[in-house]
Each structure stands twice: as C-alpha cells, then as structure tokens.
C-alpha cells in the first residue's frame, strides 16, 4: 500500500472508530434485540410489521412532510442566502445569527410559542392552523431554513461573479442568470444541505407532536411510542431498519444529484452587491422567513417578561437560583455553563471528525474502487441523522456495557452523541468547498516543496476557513439545542439548559413557566452572540496567501 493511501486510511480510522462504537454498535444492538427473537433471527416479524397499514400511513406522512418541509426550506432559504450573503445590507450579520436561533431552541418551547400564536386564543387563530399538517410544515421550515441559508450562503459568498456577468452581458435577465449559471454552480451545496434538512425533517420529533397534535405520527414518533410506551422492540426494530433503508436510498439519490461534470469552482472574495430594485422578490422572501422565525421568538420574549398581570423581570431573577423549585437541582445559569461546555466539546469533536472525513472524501481518487470507497464514506456519516435518537440512546445502554466499552454512564456520551448529530452538518458544509479546489493548486504547492501539511495549510485551509467557521457555528448550535439524545443521557448533576427548560415546563406554577421562557430567551441570545463572535473570527494569514 502506498504511503498516500496509508495516510488517507489513517485519517479515516478515527471517524470510523467513533462511528462504529457510538453508532453502528448501539443501533445494531437494538435492531438485533428486536429481530432475533429467542436467539433466532426471525425475518417474519420484519415482514409482518412492514405490512401493517398503520406503518404505511406513518411512512407516507413522514416522507410527505419531510419532502414538503425540505422544499419549502430551500425555497425560502435560497433567496435569504442571497440577501444575507451577497447584498450589502445593514445588519445582515445580526440577522444571520438570529436565524440560527431556532436551531437551538428546545422543540417543547417552540411548540408552546407557536401554539400561543396559532392556537385557539392566539393572534393568528383565524388561520385555523393549530393541529394541521400546515403547522407542522411551518415548524419544520422554522427550524431548518437556517441550514440552507448557512450552507448555501457560505458557498454563494465566494462564488466568482464573472460567469454571471458574462451571462448578463450575453443578454440573460437576472432570473435567467440565476437558473442557468448561478444555481447550477450552487447545485452541489444546495443538494447537500437539502439532504441534511430532509433528514432533520424526517426525524423531527417534538415539533410533529406539538404542532400536529396526536393526529399525525412519523416514523420517529412511532419508534418512540413502540419502544418506551409499548416496549414492542420487534416493531421498533423493523421501523429502524425502514429508517435506515430510506436514508440510504436518499443518500444514493442525492449522491447522483450532487455529482457535477466539473466540481472545480473558482472562488474569489467578491464585493457585496448594492441593493437594487430587482432584489425585491428575494428581500420579500427573506422578510417572510424572518417573520416566521421572529413571531414565535417575540412571543417567547414577551412571555418571559410577564409576571402576574404586568411586566416584570422576576422570571429572569429566578434564573440565578433554583427558585422555589427544589426539583430543579441546577440553576438555569449553571445549566447554561454546562450547555456551553458540552457544546464546545461537541463542536471540536465534530470539527475534528468532520474535517478528517471531508479531506478523505475530497482527495482525488486514483481508481474507480477508491472513488467508490470514498463516496461510501461520505454517505455513511449521514446515517446518524436519519436514525431515531431513541434507538441510539437505548442502544448505548445494551451494547456499551462491558469493558473496555463500559461507557454507559460516561460523561463523554453527551458531547459525542451531539457531535454525531452535528457531524453531517460539518461534512456537508466542507465537502462541496474542498471538492471545488482545483487539485493542481495542491500539486503546485507540492512541487514548490510544500509537504502535505503545508499544502493543506496554504491551499485548503484558506479556502475552507469561512465554511469551517460556518460549520462550527452550526455544530455549536446543533449541540446547544440537541434534546433527544441529551435528555436521555444527561446525568442528574449535569443537565444542559434545554433539559432544565423541559423540566421547568413540566411543572405547574406561573414562575416555573416564566422561568422556562426566560431561560429559553437566554439560550437564544447566547446562541446569537456566539454566532456573531464566530462570524467575526478571521485568519490573519488569509490575505497573505
């Protein structure tokens, strides 16, 4: 084996080991537990479960809602990515940071905020959306539009303007330029982010239940019901297998859609455009999205400032203490620190693994076999997004129970589980950009005497720096807001803020409720501030290269 391949194998080993231990093993364990009844493999169970009409209905609704949620997220995300990353709009950084806020809010909080708007007593009650699929879709867009905006925006920002100008000079209207030149150039990143959004939508849990009422079930909610309430591991395993099959199918399809004739993209630091009249449709779409995101957030903010019949900061004062509620052992302030620490760990784990994977996946292959292995790797790391947190969480319990893998109660599980969720976001943000680098640049650097690391530093890192920042922002936000696995794994003395918010909302009493809202506002604000700071980070050597 050549040294080159050994290096690549080395790079891939760490992410693969983590994936193997913290994903394949636990999920495999749960599925095996369900399908090997009394020690013998029983595929009839699988067939029987997948033949049920209810399963068909659930699968149908899952695919329908996820597809629609994805399409709409892309439809509003693209114009917003343009407006927020290509136009010289005052306050665009703040808006960009604010749009990531939904990503970190616990769904239970968002559900309450949404329902206060559209519920029977809310200002938007006349729309009659409460408990409808429309509300579920709106919720999905609320959570996921930011994924499209960040991923596509990062690529759009550095897209060479000249092909578009050449098209305009050839007589293409702005609209024609968009769909004949700009969108084709952005296609890989659009497909990438859309596939991530689809997985988020397809495995959305809380938002489906809260906004849809109990009427609508998705595969994810069904697995939860089957596992925890009914203890029907066989059916749950069958549905997990179904999830894996659907996700794999999706990955194959998106892999095809993503492939372009020439992935090389010339990049430049483009000046931001002046806002002009023809930007009005994009600005309008962005405004609609902002309204969708802002309305529940404003509801939250207003709610957090109410106490009794008047305005008050009492809810915020309660954040510093455990309040009148001994059941919440950690104050919201402490929980925020725990959240931030966990998120930092999850972020660097996700970045380390994600960068390794992105590098392995994007190096030019020398043979068809090698290329196959790479695209397989590329897809495998998307799987954790597509599989139920419940299956993964219980899988940890039954497989990581013996030395040297006795990790069931390790404090590392939470950041690792969060990193697994954030990992696809990181990979999907980095891969299109790394694939866009002309390999000759690396060869040129190598021919000038640069070693592999130096080449990485001088060729890849400058190009990938901004997307890397975007990815770390993503990972951080995803980790801060992750609830499914965290609630399952968090230990009593280490609850994250979303877990504390959830607990507070589970208790009667005005102060508990208000404190939960105040804690959500703090969580949202913290996220926005962190995002703003991350966006302002720069590499000093960037301009010099």
């Amino acid at each position: 084996m050549t040294r080159r391949l050994l290096t690549l194998a080395g790079l891939a080993a760490l992410p693969l080991a983590v994936l193997g231990v913290f994903f394949v093993l636990p999920v495999g364990g749960m599925v095996a537990r369900g399908l090997w009844a009394d020690g013998a493999f029983d595929p009839r169970g699988l067939v029987e479960v997948l033949g049920r009409p209810r399963v068909h209905r659930v699968l149908g609704f899952t695919l329908w809602s996820a597809t629609l949620g994805t399409l709409l997220s892309v439809a509003v995300g693209l114009p917003a990515a343009y407006v927020l990353h290509r136009l010289d709009l005052p306050g665009r950084r703040v808006v960009r940071a604010a749009l990531l806020v939904p990503f970190v809010l616990p769904t239970v909080v968002v559900g309450v905020a949404f329902r206060q708007l559209i519920g029977e007593g809310g200002p938007l009650a006349f729309l009659g959306l409460d408990g409808t699929p429309t509300a579920i879709i709106a919720g999905l867009v609320f959570f996921n539009a930011a994924v499209v905006i960040r991923a596509v925006g990062a690529a759009w920002e550095s897209l060479d303007r000249r092909p578009a100008e050449a098209a305009a000079a050839l007589g293409a209207t702005p609209w024609q330029v968009l769909h004949t030149v700009t969108l084709p150039a952005l296609r890989p990143v659009i497909v990438s982010s859309a596939s991530v959004v689809f997985l988020f939508c397809a495995t959305a849990f809380g938002i489906v239940l809260t906004l849809g009422g109990v009427r609508y079930s998705t595969v994810e909610t069904e697995i939860y019901l089957l596992t925890t309430t009914l203890f029907d591991l066989r059916s749950a395993a069958a549905l997990s297998v179904l999830q894996l099959v659907v996700v794999t199918g999706l990955l194959v399809v998106t892999g095809r859609l993503r492939a372009v004739a020439d992935p090389t993209v010339s990049r430049q630091f483009a000046r931001l455009g002046r806002v002009s009249r023809r930007d009005v449709p994009a600005l309008a779409a962005t405004a609609v999205l902002l309204a969708l995101v802002a309305a529940p957030l404003v509801t939250l903010l207003v709610g957090s400032l109410r106490a009794g019949d008047g305005w008050s900061l009492a809810n915020y004062r309660a954040l510093g203490s455990t309040g009148d509620d001994p059941a919440v052992l950690v104050s919201a302030g402490e929980a925020l620190l725990i959240s931030l620490r966990t998120a930092v760990d999850a972020t660097w784990i996700a970045l380390l693994l994600g960068l390794s994977i992105a590098l392995v996946v994007t190096r030019r292959s020398r043979s068809r076999g090698e290329r196959r292995v790479r695209s397989l790797l590329d897809g495998v790391f998307m799987l954790p997004l597509g599989v139920s947190a419940v299956t993964l969480g219980f899988g940890f319990l039954i497989t990581l129970d013996q030395p040297p893998l006795d990790l069931r109660d390790s404090p590392l599980l939470v950041p690792i589980a969060q990193a697994l969720v954030a990992l696809p976001l990181v990979v999907r943000t980095l891969v299109p950009v790394l694939a866009g680098i002309d390999d000759r640049q690396r060869q040129a650097a190598a021919s000038l005497g640069a070693g592999p690391l130096r080449t990485l530093w001088t060729v890849d890192v400058p190009v990938v720096w901004k997307p890397l920042l975007a990815a770390s922002g993503f990972a951080f936000a995803a980790s801060l807001g992750e609830f499914g696995a965290t609630a399952f794994l968090a230990r009593e003395d280490q609850p994250t803020l979303p877990v504390v918010i959830f607990r507070l909302l589970g208790r009667p009493g005005e102060l508990n409720y208000g404190t939960a809202l105040a804690a959500s506002v703090v969580l949202a604000t913290t996220t926005a501030v962190v995002m703003l700071v991350v966006e302002r980070l720069r590499v000093p050597s960037l301009g010099a290269f």
């Binding site: 000249r162 000079a169 050839l170 007589g171 004949t180 020439d262």
Partner: protein, 338 residues
C-alpha cells in the same frame, strides 16, 4: 452619430476614482483597443460600458440612445473575459448557444448557428466537449463564438488574449481581427499589450491613472504619441529628449524642436550612415541582427543590421536613421533640460 459614445464618464469605487472624465467615440463597425498598464481603470471602463458598474457622472450612449439605467442584459452587448468564463457545467455547444437559447431560438436554428460559429473560430467538432477539457486558446475561441452568437451590436473584450502563450497569442490575434471583420462587429477591447492592440484594433485609446491620455486611428496614435510615457507604452524602446533629441533629429534631417521616440529598429547599421558608434552587443534573430550600440553623446541605443552582416562587440559601426521607425513627441515633459 452611430456607435458608442462616452461623455465625461467617471466611475468610483467608494472613495477611489477608477475612471475620471473619459470621453470617447467608437463608430459602428470599428474595433477600438483601450491600452494601458494594469490598474489604469481600463477594465472598469469596460465594465461600466457593459453596465456592470454604475457610472458616477457623465453619460454612455449607443446609436444616440442613452444607456443610463439600462441593465446589462438589455444593452445588446456581449462581454468576453480574459479567461473566457465559460460555464463549466455546459458543454461547448451549449456554451456557444447559451444566448440563443435565452432568446428562445428554435432548436434547429441554434444548432445550425452553433455549427457555423464553431467553424468560424476553428473549433468544428468540439461541440460535445466540456470546458475543463479544453486548452486555454480553445476556451478563448469558444468564449468568442459564444459572444458572437447573438450578433451583438458591440462586443466587449477584456484582455482576450493575455492568458495565452506568445505564439498562440499572435495567431489568435490575427484570427480575432479576421473574425471581427468577417462578422462586421463593433468591438471595444481593453489590453495592456500594444502588440495585441495593433494586431486586432483599428483605433486605439491610451489610458493612464483613470484618465484618457490619447485616442485616434491606430496609425495616428502610433506616429504621434502625446508624451514620453505613452511612447514607451506604445512599444517605443527609447525616448530622446532635449539636446539629445535635437542631435538625432539633425542627423536624420527631421523637423527639429520635438523630442524623439525610437523603436528598436530605428537605427540601422549602414556604412554610409551619418552617425558613428561602437557595437557593444549583437544577437541574431530569425529576421535580423539586433545590435546594441554606444553613440557618443547619446549613450546606449538599439540598432539592427541585416542578416548576414558581420558585427561583433567592439566593432566601430556607422548608423543610418529609419525615420518611419521614429515618432516625434511634443516637448513639455518636465524632465526636459532647458
């Protein structure tokens, strides 16, 4: 008046004035080269004509119609970039036919026209290739064909040949001129290379630091550079000033009272020549012998000798002046000694 007219055009990037008060006229059917060093504002001027940069003041019009407020895609111009900017995701035929498809030209018509254009630029049979598989010269030809496809009333060429190697550049420059003539296209080209300008254009405009310093038919500009810097930029090897110029002028029997720009070939080794000098170097080229000479009172100068002559460093030589290879430069340069 037909064609492109620029009146007092100024373009700003924030506080920086890139183009200042430029006025130009380009009659229909003519090819104008805007020549200038990098950073002189020529590309900005081109982009302003294309409608890609807003004009801070002044006016651009075509065939008498003001273009202020007309967006790029309504100007009926075509723009060809230095590196072609082919659409990487489209094959050659689809690149060339791009603008035709925008106009909903019937498919058969597109395909006929694309074939014609590829023929014109010498790339018949390349229709299915992707841009990534083409050489630099081929890409430029495709870009040119693409720009010509819709018979634009004005084609804008941004350093169309600079990215190519010297041999290819010369050949493509000739082709470009031929293709533009054949198509009868009005063209505005910016370049920093005077050879490219001479090879393609029939009018020339020289820009420096955002200003237009000279423009006119190519021969006129070439023979009458407005100042020493312009002369150098037009490819003159030496500009003699003051007493040195007077001495050379009197030796050559030219009109006195002006400075004198000399091309490399302005001095010819000729035993009957009026000037005496000493050869300090000699280099054979395929067409002639290039000789470096030291002339008393004038310093080191370039000269040429016919192939086959025997000139070696150290030899004493006589020099004749070929007046057609010199150009008078008006005095007024501050460096001129009184």
């Amino acid at each position: 008046m037909g064609g492109l007219v620029l009146r007092d055009v100024t373009v700003r990037y924030d506080d920086l004035v890139a183009v200042r008060d430029v006025s130009l006229a380009l009659p229909a059917g003519a090819v104008l080269a805007v020549l200038g060093p990098s950073g002189c504002g020529k590309s900005t001027l081109l982009r302003a004509v294309a409608g890609l940069e807003p004009v801070a003041s002044g006016a651009i019009s075509y065939d008498g119609a003001d273009l202020g407020g007309v967006p790029t895609h309504h100007r009926g111009f075509a723009l060809m970039f230095q590196d072609g900017q082919l659409f990487a995701h489209l094959d050659v035929a689809r690149n060339v036919g791009y603008a035709l498809r925008l106009r909903r030209t019937p498919r058969a018509e597109v395909s006929r026209r694309v074939g014609e254009l590829l023929e014109l630029v010498g790339l018949a049979g390349y229709a299915d290739r992707l841009p990534a598989t083409l050489s630099g010269g081929e890409r430029q030809r495709v870009a040119l064909a693409r720009a010509l496809a819709v018979e634009p009333r004005l084609i804008l060429l941004d350093e169309p040949l600079s990215a190519l190697d010297a041999t290819l550049r010369t050949r493509l420059a000739t082709d470009l001129r031929e293709i533009l003539r054949t198509a009868g296209t009005t063209a505005l080209m910016v370049t920093h290379d005077h050879d490219e300008a001479f090879a393609v254009a029939d009018r020339i405009a020289v820009m420096r630091a955002g200003h237009l310093v000279q423009d006119g038919p190519i021969g006129e500009v070439w023979q009458h550079p407005v100042d020493a810097d312009t002369a150098y930029f037009l490819g003159y090897a030496t500009v003699l000033t003051g007493a040195e110029a007077d001495r050379m002028v009197s030796s050559a029997g030219l009109v006195p009272g002006q400075d004198l720009a000399l091309r490399r070939s302005a001095l010819v080794v000729d035993d009957a020549g009026p000037l005496a000098g000493t050869a300090i170097s000699a280099l054979a080229t395929p067409e002639q012998l290039r000789v470096g000479v030291e002339v008393a009172g004038l310093g080191a100068l370039h000269a040429v000798a016919p192939l086959g002559s025997h000139v070696a460093p150290g030899d004493a030589v006589r020099l004749r002046i070929d007046a057609s290879r010199t150009a008078p430069v008006p005095r007024g340069d501050p460096r001129v000694s009184p």
